[in-house]
């Protein structure tokens, strides 16, 4: 890869733009005073992660990310926000009293991780031929990982029934 074509340069630039957008959305998700705006920031972050999956050539995962996270979990969270929160009440503090301690912990964690990442002696990346395609993925999921797959479906059933039981109206 001695020569960098314009297409490759554009792809790199797009990666950094998407990465910055993802982090900005994540910041909005944890800092917005209005919880509905926080949900929108979370949507931006989740979409950004899906696009990052595309950069890493994991197309099926990108589609799943959009279907499950943006389509289902985010809708659920927005429902929860609308059912419970006094959304735009400016009198309510958005963070608790541990705000500065939490910020210090998170900053130390993030900067420490970044430092480690840039100074760790990573093994040289192999020249990987091709990312696994959808047939390979399906075969692995339904042969080697069949047991976790089925356990996950049981877990989802349990979560469904449990959520209904917890959230239903109690009989007086």
């Amino acid at each position: 890869m001695s020569q960098v074509g314009p297409l490759e340069l554009a792809a790199k630039a797009a990666f950094y733009v998407v990465a910055a957008g993802t982090l900005a959305g994540a910041w909005a998700a944890v800092s917005a005073r209005n919880l509905f705006r926080a949900a929108l920031g979370l949507a931006v972050a989740l979409f950004g992660v899906a696009i990052l999956y595309l950069f890493l050539e994991a197309e099926f995962l990108a589609v799943t990310q959009i279907l499950v996270y943006v389509g289902a979990i985010l809708t659920l969270l927005v429902f929860g926000v609308m059912l419970t929160a006094r959304m735009a009440d400016p009198a309510l503090p958005r963070w608790n009293r541990q705000c500065w301690a939490g910020l210090a912990v998170a900053a130390a964690l993030g900067l420490g991780l970044a430092h480690l990442l840039f100074h760790a002696p990573w093994p040289a990346p192999r020249d990987v031929a091709a990312p696994p395609g959808l047939p390979v993925l399906g075969k692995t999921l339904l042969s080697t990982y069949l047991l976790p797959f089925e356990v996950l479906s049981l877990l989802l059933l349990g979560a469904l029934v449990g959520a209904l039981f917890i959230a239903k109206k109690e009989q007086a």
Binding site: A11, F15, A26, A29, V30, L35, A38, A39, L42, A45, L46, V49, Y53, F55, L56, E57, A58, L61, V68, Y69, L77, F79, G80, V81, L83, T84, P93, R94, W95, R97, Q98, A101, G102, L103, A106, A107, L109, G110, L113, A114, F118, P125, R126, V128, P131, P132, V136, L137, T140, L141, T144, Y145, L152, L156, A159, G162, A163, L164, I166, A167
Partner: protein, 103 residues
């Protein structure tokens, strides 16, 4: 891969740090759930990045990431049901006003 591995990992570390910040400091319980989703996403991003850089011929990294997405969905559902139940009983979902178990 045209993007260096460490750059993807830095994005993931940033997502993780933001998620930890939100989970530690948000007052609203739904905000805490959102932050936890961010943390799970950063873990998934790491899985896929390493799988892409180190060779993932069998697709194991993507399969594990899919399982994590499923578990995150289950967690969000149960967490939201708990939040709704608490809201019905106590008319608040502020995490620092819910201290029933504090002696």
């Amino acid at each position: 891969m045209i993007i260096p591995l460490s750059h993807v990992l830095v994005v993931s570390a940033g997502l993780f740090a933001l998620g930890v910040f939100g989970a530690l400091t948000r007052r609203n319980a739904i905000g805490i759930l959102m932050a936890i989703e961010l943390i799970l996403n950063s873990a998934n991003l790491n899985l896929i990045a390493f799988g892409r850089a180190r060779g993932d011929a069998g697709g194991e990294a993507q399969v594990v990431a899919l399982l994590v997405i499923g578990i995150a969905a289950a967690g969000a559902v149960v967490g939201l049901a708990l939040v709704l139940a608490i809201y019905r009983h106590r008319k608040t979902i502020s995490a620092d006003e819910i201290k029933l178990l504090k002696g």
